[in-house]
Amino acid sequence: MTTMDPTVEDALPETAVEPKGNHAPGMARVCATTGLTVDLTAEKFIKLHAVFAVVFLLLGGIAALLIAMTRWSAVHLLPADWYYRLTTFHGLNMLILWILFMEVAILYFAATALLKTRLASAGLAWAGFVLMAVGAVTLDTMILMGTSDVMMTSYAPLRAHPLFYLSIIFVAVGTLIGVINFFATVYIAKRDKTYSGSVPLVVFGAITAAIIAVVTLGHGAGIMIPTFLWSIEVLPSPDPAVYRLVWWGLGHQSQQVNVAAMVSVWYLLGAITVGAKVLNQGVSRTAFLLYILFINLASAHHLLVDPGVSAGWKIWNTSYAMYLAVLASMIHGYTVPAAVEVALRKQGHDKGLFGWLGAAPWRNPGFSGFFLSLVVFGFLGGITGVTLGTEQINIIAHNTLRIPGHFHTTVVGGTTTAFMALAYYVVPLIFRREFPMRAICRAQPYVFTLGVVILAVGMSFAGSYGVARRHWDVEFTGATHAASFDPSVHIFLGMVGIGGIIAFVGLLMFVIPTVIAVFFGKKIEGKMPAW
């Protein structure tokens, strides 16, 4: 192990360096550890969004544990109504609330700190945050009250309480306001010439995420507003096929926002943890361009067995065009670790093929979380995603547990782990609080990733034997027509339960030190302590 850390010996105390950029006097500071200029208004909103994000992560995680304990057929914990209620709750808290709050925090950080500019509007930031927070709390309340057991997808003609749809609209509009504030901040940075040439790559990745978010939220408004009007009996029921088409423009594309944000976080953590430099700006930016143009078409995977849309539409959207976005992920999957390898070799770790990998700072959870996220996303998420997205193969996997097996490796093993890794720097650098229980923090990415991998592999194998996703009782108790699976599925469902417990422990190992650090942590005055 090396003693690699993000600090340099000659870092100056914060007061000695004047902030760069277009900030009003006293409204910015220079981070002693990274040298980045931090806008104090943006800092406040980064903190607010990050705290709310972690709260929803914990709520979604508690639901996850209970769901895993129900899918584990030997335990079968929850009654049917609570299984579907908490699956609705889990999906929306994890895929929408945790991720969107964290992403707005990342957008505000990338635009202000990396472009050395002030946040465009504190008023807009407040408006967006309040809408998101009110929407999120209302949404969770409506689900837990049992008024909206419609799953995350809320497929019409399933009907939830009107406030369920209205609260999702609030979250979507609030996020859109955050995205508009981000674009306005990028605009004033260019206008005020706070940077020269092209924006840094991490900002370019954040712009990519924001563009995808606009498409996502447009689809969200496009389907949730008419569905809300139907729920209060102003409009007739939406056509189920149209609902599915437009809803997946929200449901899947919101996860593409994650991909772009996660890749940006990889580049950022590469720079912070080992000083990795982007190998080729043109190549990495072109890969992001492929995301902007083509990644949103992946929503079509969800409609591969729908009868309404043609084979031409399915094949174009899930194959030819989509593979260009897969190419982009493969480019990032090479350039990010290659940049880490080049940086570590330059620092003297150039023994053999993998000497650099052995010498990497594996005790730093910011690095280990980032690299594990990269490996799990690429090897498990990428490989299963491309395979399941193939039209012909999809027919043997559609709506089985293989699908959650896939996206738990992308969204949880990939995005969530990367965002957790980022938090190991956000808390000391933005909240300026020291992490307690550092041994637990160091172990956390490994425990969490191990749990997620066991869970996802269990899901994938159970799904390969035909076990359905979102299904309360694998035994089909009391069903008119008996159905049974190969007995081995119970072993794989046991893996789902055990993996779920380990991942939940990993989640607590993240949440507890983070909450203690944010509210009671030792104040950091100069450089952050090295991990």
Partner: protein, 51 residues
């Protein structure tokens, strides 16, 4: 006398530096390829006759 030659920026680099054009393209491509095309196909489906 040395003539100053205008620096030509590659079209791809100009595109990558133009946030607003990227935003427009990023919205238009999926809107046409996924949403509009899909909606046209669904709206042209004949109604099923009841048995």
């Amino acid at each position: 006398m040395a003539e100053s030659t205008p620096v030509t920026v590659h079209w791809l680099e100009r595109l990558l530096d133009n946030t607003w054009l990227l935003l427009a393209l990023g919205v238009l491509v999926p809107a046409i390829s996924y949403t509009l095309w899909g909606l046209i196909e669904l709206s042209n489906l004949p109604s099923a006759t009841l048995p």
